[in-house]
């Protein structure tokens, strides 16, 4: 990661990468994926009873996938299929039950506290509901500069504010929004602020957890366009979590379909859309609303 690491760590790194390469089937360019997930599992304890053995609910079950740099993997599935739980674990916000997540070739577990803190700069998140994901008590200025202060980005408050104004420009908001509170904005504008907040610490990987599902249809495409432009300009890598296959085509390179905590199907967007292998995926595909009157009927997913 940095020059101050001792040689033991470096050797460890090389080993890790070598092990990865063997396991991963490297992509055409021979570059290791930014993110590699191996056998990821999350179990939540259910209600404990006094004399009964503890029961566990498996939310995520042995999930593995890679995301190459600058690419978007869409994780699709109905609600409750464990998509968001995967997202939280990738962000190091939820403890892993078993399996491992390799970011840049190294697992979370092998990193020190300070390194895991530094990693937070690299990975950010945009949530579904822009009404619940912004702190109503903080001005946009406070929201955007807080992360920078935490990671010592920008020497002075003035410098951070300058950056915050720049970020607003990047997401298509006027700099005058800085002194206003979240409730003064519409849903789409709030989502732009949430995206600017994620960008404020300069991440290279973002988890987009249903970023457009709570928005009006007309605003959805604007936000998707914005996300696509940001990815192109800044080389961002996305994990795009959604239940709506309709928006997947637009943003994703690859698709992984989740059902009840497992990945049941993986492939490129074309493969999944044209030749779905499982019944579940076909049902998800049929649930996309169509403008074609011949195919107006929506099929229930489950």
């Amino acid at each position: 990661m940095n020059a101050t690491q001792n040689s033991g760590d470096v050797a460890n790194d090389v080993n890790n990468i070598a092990a990865d390469n063997a396991a991963n089937n490297l992509n055409a360019t021979g570059e290791a994926p930014l993110l590699a997930v191996r056998g990821l599992t999350k179990k939540f304890p259910l209600r404990k009873k006094l004399f009964a053995p503890p029961l566990w609910k498996t939310a995520v079950d042995d999930v593995s996938f890679d995301i190459a740099r600058g690419q978007t993997l869409a994780l699709v599935g109905e609600s409750g299929s464990g998509k968001s739980t995967v997202g939280l674990m990738l962000l190091d916000l939820l403890a892993i039950t078993s399996g491992e997540i390799l970011y840049d070739g190294r697992s979370f577990a092998s990193r020190s506290r300070a390194e895991r803190f530094a990693l937070r700069r690299q990975m950010q998140v945009v949530f579904q509901d822009p009404y619940a994901s912004l702190n109503a008590r903080m001005t946009v200025r406070e929201t955007l500069t807080e992360g920078m202060a935490v990671h010592r980005i920008g020497k002075t408050a003035a410098e951070r504010e300058g950056r915050a104004a720049q970020l607003l420009g990047q997401v298509g908001m006027p700099a005058g929004a800085l002194d206003r509170y979240p409730h003064e904005f519409s849903g789409g504008q709030r989502q732009r602020i949430a995206i600017a907040r994620a960008l404020s610490v300069g991440p290279s990987f973002m988890v987009l957890d249903e970023p457009t599902s709570a928005l009006d249809v007309s605003v959805q495409s604007q936000i998707l366009n914005l996300l696509r432009r940001l990815q192109r300009e800044q080389g961002l890598t996305y994990l795009f979590i959604t239940h709506n296959l309709g928006v997947v085509e637009y943003l994703a390179d690859e698709v992984a379909v989740m059902e009840a905590g497992r990945i049941v199907e993986r492939g490129t967007v074309d493969e999944i859309f044209d030749r779905p292998q499982t019944d579940y995926t076909s049902k998800l595909l049929r649930s996309i609303p169509s403008l074609d009157p011949e195919h107006r009927k929506l099929a229930p997913v489950a």
Binding site: L93, M123, D129, N135, R137, A194
Partner: protein, 321 residues
């Protein structure tokens, strides 16, 4: 903001007048008046009673009595107290001082314990402290205030650590300025503990619940994702959002304290407004009862006004209007 407060204060006037009319009517529901007690006494001549009746205006029709009281009250004269033989205003102001002293001290006590405690048990959920406080809180909510007050009196009487009732020592008037403060504080201690403990129980549970709700919100996740330390997440992001419903409670709490204080005041012989109200109603001291009703309502309205202003100050979504 100033305009908002002025408007609310002006709106108070008709409300308070309505309450005075209501309290006058309530007082008339029971048959007879203060002088009936004197009429039963063979040692008092009918002429004396006749004279008192005229002096207090009790011989006039009810409606006239009320209007006369209202006209005088608007000029600052709230009528005489039959039992204390002095003006109602003087009687009440002294009691208001003691009631507010008790209420404000109890509020400070309960808030300064309940908020940090609520934050602690919310962030250490299902831990030992959480379970223990859960038990303590339910005990505090379930035990009636007067019962706790009785236990406290028993404690004071057995140990001699605290004064058994009252608000000041007999030699209070001879004390120095500092001595008076110390004496009042010493007398305040038990009533504040009794009243404050009840407040702590409810507030602490409320704070715990609110904080847990807020901590599950996505903006908390986003703050953690940006690398904020957990302490900052809880204190800066979560607490500021969790405190709002408590400010609303503050308004109710003040009224609860004024009402709930009455029982504690009576048991611990604290010379407050609640005790005065009860004494005046049972003693048929008409104008004192009306004055106490009006004063209690005024305090309640002002308490709610303070809560509303605080709410608008802490929450950017609320505007004065």
């Amino acid at each position: 903001m100033l305009r908002f407060i002025l408007k609310r204060l002006l709106l108070m006037v008709p409300l308070v007048i309505g309450i005075s009319l209501l309290s006058f009517c309530v007082m008339q529901l029971a048959p007879g008046d203060y002088l009936d007690q004197l009429r039963g006494d063979p040692q008092i001549r009918p002429e004396t009673i006749e004279r008192l009746s005229q002096q207090y205006g009790l011989d006039k029709p009810k409606a006239t009595q009320y209007v006369l009281w209202l006209v005088n009250a608007l000029q600052g004269n709230f009528g005489p107290s039959f039992t204390y033989k002095i003006g109602v205003f003087e009687v009440i102001m002294q009691r208001v001082y003691y009631t507010l002293l008790l209420a404000v001290c109890s509020l400070i006590f309960s808030w300064s314990i309940a908020i940090p405690m609520g934050i602690y048990i919310a962030t250490h959920r299902n831990g030992l402290a959480d379970r223990l406080m859960n038990f303590v809180a339910f005990a505090g909510i379930s035990l009636p205030g007067f019962f706790v007050a009785l236990l406290a009196m028993k404690l004071a009487q057995q140990t001699g650590w605290f004064p058994v009732g009252g608000a000041s020592s007999p030699n209070y008037e001879q004390m120095s300025w500092l001595g008076k403060v110390r004496d009042t504080g010493w007398h305040l201690l038990l009533p504040v503990l009794v009243l404050g403990t009840r407040g702590v129980s409810g507030l602490m549970r409320q704070m715990r619940g609110n904080l847990l709700d807020v901590l599950s919100e996505n903006f908390i996740m986003a703050a953690r994702a940006r690398g904020l330390a957990e302490r900052g997440v809880v204190l800066k992001h979560a607490t500021r959002n969790a405190i709002n419903p408590l400010i609303t409670i503050f308004g109710y709490e003040l009224s609860g304290l004024l009402a709930g204080a009455a029982l504690v005041e009576i048991v611990m012989s604290w010379p407050g407004l609640g005790r005065l109200l009860l004494e005046s109603v049972t003693g048929r001291d008409l104008y004192v009862a009306m004055g106490a009703f009006v004063m209690g309502a005024t305090l309640l309205i002002i308490g709610n006004l303070i809560a509303d202003v605080l709410l608008a100050v802490t929450d950017p979504r609320i505007k004065f209007s």
